[in-house]
Amino acid sequence: MSAESGPRSFLDVGVLSRLAAMPLFARRPMQGNVSGRHASPHRGASVEFAEYRKYVPGDDLRRLDWRAYGRSDRFYVKEFEADTNLRCCLVLDTSGSMGFGSTGVTKIEYARRVAGTLAYLASQQGDAVGLACVAGGVVQNLPPKRNAAHLRLALDILERTQPRGETQLAAVLHELAETVRQRALIVILSDLFIEPSILRSSFQHLRFRHHDVAVFHLLDPQELAFNFRRPMRFLDMEGGAAIFAEPNDIADRYDRALQQYLVDLRQVMLESGVDYQRVSIDESYEQVLARFLVGRAQAKGLR
């Protein structure tokens, strides 16, 4: 961790140092104004050969490959990939439901750790980092930049943000798809308590804009295993509605609804090409991030 960022309660130096060895890769070519380790979609003079193509009138004659001409008596233009930096945009769901946590850690705290670590790692490898806190709308929006002060600002926002209000994640993602102009890695941290069919269009919108989308789906273990024993009154953390339920009566139906939701959500993620990570917040976030980073590195190798 750099001296400028200062100590943060949600950042673990040990975790940062161990994860620093794993670069954050984008699964798709990125566009940037500085050179970096991420492949750029633009072709031009660079260090890494891309492909040959036939010469067409108007091409820069300096890019003709004379050796190829000598061997084949045809004109080819040699193209190279232009390497660029990554624009990483972290989208943090700060709706009321993110304040739930049955294991001593709330979903927002967990998301804060994941987002902070990712922001730091990206910044350290020279990538631009942005942060959007969303609930009913975009609560805080920090566009991606790559300087240390910007990182500190992002971490400040992460530290201050509190879960509040209803979530309108789908609408906000549409909005972000329009506002983030250049290709970026969009990392969403949310419990995604939205109908999967509604989310589908949002993710497709992001993909249409050529963004690389990764989702950390944060769920509390108690939300996965509805194991209450006593009669309970459940108060909605977002709307304030209340439901009285006898757990024995309702548990099996709850599980059915949850499983159906998870199946549908996974299907949406697959169809939308989203890098989907379902996370139970009793897991170590270091392992979750390590799995994520390794997965992305492997995806880059296959590209």
Partner: protein
């Protein structure tokens, strides 16, 4: 429904316990802020139908389990097939036991009679129910007898079969007197009977009086009727209608007249019935053909030793459904002279009366009539008189006392009006004024089924309708008309008496009054029948209906016939031949016992209208207990309810696996 521990039912409100716990639980819920509300809402929507139903079903089965436990602990009772009919433990339980001959009808299966079945079922029932005190009132003496335990019914000779009929109103009266005298608390009255019409006398006015009397008890009296109304359709009964000894050239014959009766259902089927005659131990058998339901055989001759002038005998038929009517005892002796005393102030009436009384109906029978004036009554040997014919103003004073004593002994009296009847009153009857018409007043109707105007043995009716009644004297008082004139005035009436018989003719044999003398058959039959009844009382060979000689006492009776296990004190209620001093007595069931009419169910209900009454019908030989404790059923119900409740409470299979996925 009735229970042995009904007070435990006070705990029935505990059935609401699961509901109360449910309501309390709802108030003790834990509140949690919950994020995954969308799944909860979906689950809640899904659970709205079945889950709510399941919740209510669980509660229902919990309530049923508690109710089952409470009912089982209360020890509910059930009777075999009619539902539940008993009450809780009573302070006093009175058993009215009908011992009449019809109660000895047996079942084809076990061979137990209605009486034996009833006693067994009563013992089982009453031992189950329990009581502070058990009292037996049986149908012969009707004396309340306290029992140590219901099981005594099985051994007590006084609870065994008898030949005497039952009188249910009198038995109930006895029960009423016992309750009133002993100030019994809550009382149960158990009646065991076969509902024979002659035992219950449903038309009697005593029933309404009894109902009112029982209703006045503040502690409440509950009646249970254990009824055995079924009758055996092929049962045949035998009865001796007349016995007389006749001297013949060879010696002497005993002429026995029989009546064989079959209960309904056999139709015109012809049956040969072997009848065994037993005279002082000597037996002979003769067969008789029985067609239809009733047949009479007149004067079956049995040779006798000339020297045997008196003795006893028995007729019997093979055993059938009811052994109590398969034999009949008789005694015979030289008939007593039929002596009549005539008191008359109309010379025209005296002669016909004297003739009617003194002409013997059969050869060898001595009939005499003595005309006396009222002042000579005290000199008459009343113990040798069978009939008193009185055509004078009704006697008063000493004469009236003599007449009353004569009637109480069993004597017969026929009163006829005089021209100046006077104001006298006797046996509740009083003469009114004479009525004279231009034309004779026709006889409108008369009773030909019983009493002195009954049909002859051949079935022919007496020519009562042919009588010419020229003038008649009115009658007032409570009486039973045996013949009435046009317009409803009685021609012949019978006054109510405890013993003996008192008849009132509304006219005289005088020619100016009627044709009783000129068409003398009716007068003769009437006088001779009354005379025969009076002679039967003073004769030394008497036929007695069982239970009919109780006033005379039976302490000096000696049983002549064998095979009886009854107590000597019950001799008057058990059929058989007896001797008492110089008399021979044959005790048999009354003729009404052979009729077999059973009280209709609706009529029984009417008799107990307004009272707490429950009826259970049984069958002879029925070994089933009348009342059973059915707590096991409720306990099983409770266990079943708990099992169902547990099954409903189980979580659905696969829920855990689904949650972990």
């Amino acid at each position: 429904m009735s229970f042995l521990q009904p007070w435990l039912l006070l705990g029935l409100p505990l059935v609401a316990l699961p509901l109360i716990i449910h309501l309390i639980n709802q108030r003790r819920f834990q509140t949690i802020h919950w994020a995954a509300m969308m799944f909860l809402l979906a689950a809640h929507r899904m659970a709205r139908g079945y889950s709510r139903l399941r919740q209510w079903l669980i509660m229902l089965f919990r309530m049923l389990a508690i109710a089952g436990l409470l009912f089982a602990a209360s020890r509910p009772l059930a009777s075999g097939w009619l539902g539940l009919a008993a009450g809780g433990k009573a302070d006093t339980t009175i058993i009215l036991l009908d011992r009449s001959p019809s109660m000895q009808e047996r079942s084809a299966g076990t061979g137990d009679s209605k009486l034996e079945t009833g006693r067994k079922q009563l013992v089982q029932t009453l031992e189950t129910l329990g009581s502070g005190r058990w009292v037996l009132i049986e149908s012969t003496t009707r004396e309340p007898r306290e029992l140590e335990a219901p099981a005594a019914l099985l051994d007590l000779p006084e609870a065994g079969p008898a030949s005497a009929p039952a009188d249910l109103p009198l038995m109930l009266q006895s029960a009423y007197d016992y309750i009133a005298a002993n100030r019994a608390g809550r009382t149960e009255v158990w009646i065991c009977s076969d509902l024979r019409d002659n035992d219950w006398t449903p038309e009697s006015g005593r029933w309404s009086t009894l109902r009112d009397a029982f209703l006045e008890f503040p502690q409440g009296v509950r009646f249970h009727l254990l009824a055995y109304p079924q009758t055996a359709p092929t049962n045949v009964s035998i009865r001796v209608t007349d016995v007389r000894r006749e001297i013949t050239l060879e010696g002497a014959d005993l002429l026995v007249s029989l009546r064989l009766a079959r209960q309904g259902g056999a139709g015109d089927e012809k049956t040969t019935v072997p009848v065994q005659f037993e005279i002082e131990g000597a037996r002979s058998v003769a067969s008789f053909e029985l067609t239809g339901s009733l047949i009479e055989f007149k004067d079956h001759r049995i040779p006798l030793d000339r020297t045997r002038e008196r003795g006893w005998g028995r007729v019997s038929i093979p055993a059938d459904a009811n052994p109590a009517d398969d034999d009949f005892y008789f005694v015979f002796d030289n008939p007593p002279p039929r002596r009549t005393v005539v008191v008359a102030d109309d010379p025209q009436a005296v002669h016909p009366l004297e003739l009617a009384a003194s002409i013997a109906p059969e050869r060898g029978m001595e009939c005499t009539a003595e005309v006396v004036v009222e002042d000579q009554l005290s000199t008459v040997a009343w113990d040798q008189i069978s009939l008193l014919l009185w055509q004078a103003p009704l006697p008063t004073g000493e004469a009236a006392e003599l007449v009353r004593a004569f009637v109480d002994r069993g004597g017969q009296v026929i009163f006829l009006p005089t021209q100046n009847p006077g104001e006298g009153e006797l046996f509740g009857m009083r003469w009114q004024t004479w009525t004279t018409g231009r034309e004779p007043v026709p006889v409108e109707n008369w009773r030909s089924d019983a009493d002195v105007l009954a049909r002859t043995l051949s079935g022919a009716a007496l020519p009562v309708g042919q009588l010419e009644i020229r003038q008649y004297c009115g009658l007032s008082g409570e009486c039973t008309p045996l013949a009435t004139l046009q317009g409803g005035a009685p021609l012949l009436a019978r006054a109510p008496t405890r013993r003996g018989a008192v008849y009132f003719w509304a006219t005289t044999p005088s020619a100016r009054d009627s044709s009783l003398a000129t068409e003398g058959v009716v007068l003769y039959a009437c006088v001779q029948r009354a005379l025969a009844a009076g002679a039967a009382v003073i004769g030394k060979a008497r036929q007695i209906d069982a239970g009919g000689a109780i006033e005379e006492g039976t302490t000096d009776w000696i049983r002549l016939s064998e095979n009886s296990e009854s107590l000597s004190t019950e001799a008057g209620f058990q059929r058989g031949a007896y001797s008492s001093r110089d008399r021979l007595l044959a005790v048999n069931r009354p003729s009404a016992e052979d009729e077999g009419r059973v009280l209709a169910d609706a009529r029984v209900g009417t008799l107990f209208r307004g009272l707490e009454f429950a009826r259970v019908d049984g069958q002879a030989g029925d070994a089933n207990s009348l009342i059973q404790e059915i707590w096991r059923i409720f306990l099983l119900s409770m266990l079943l309810a708990l099992l169902v409740e547990a099954a409903l409470c189980l979580p659905r299979i696969g829920r855990t696996a689904g949650a972990a996925a």
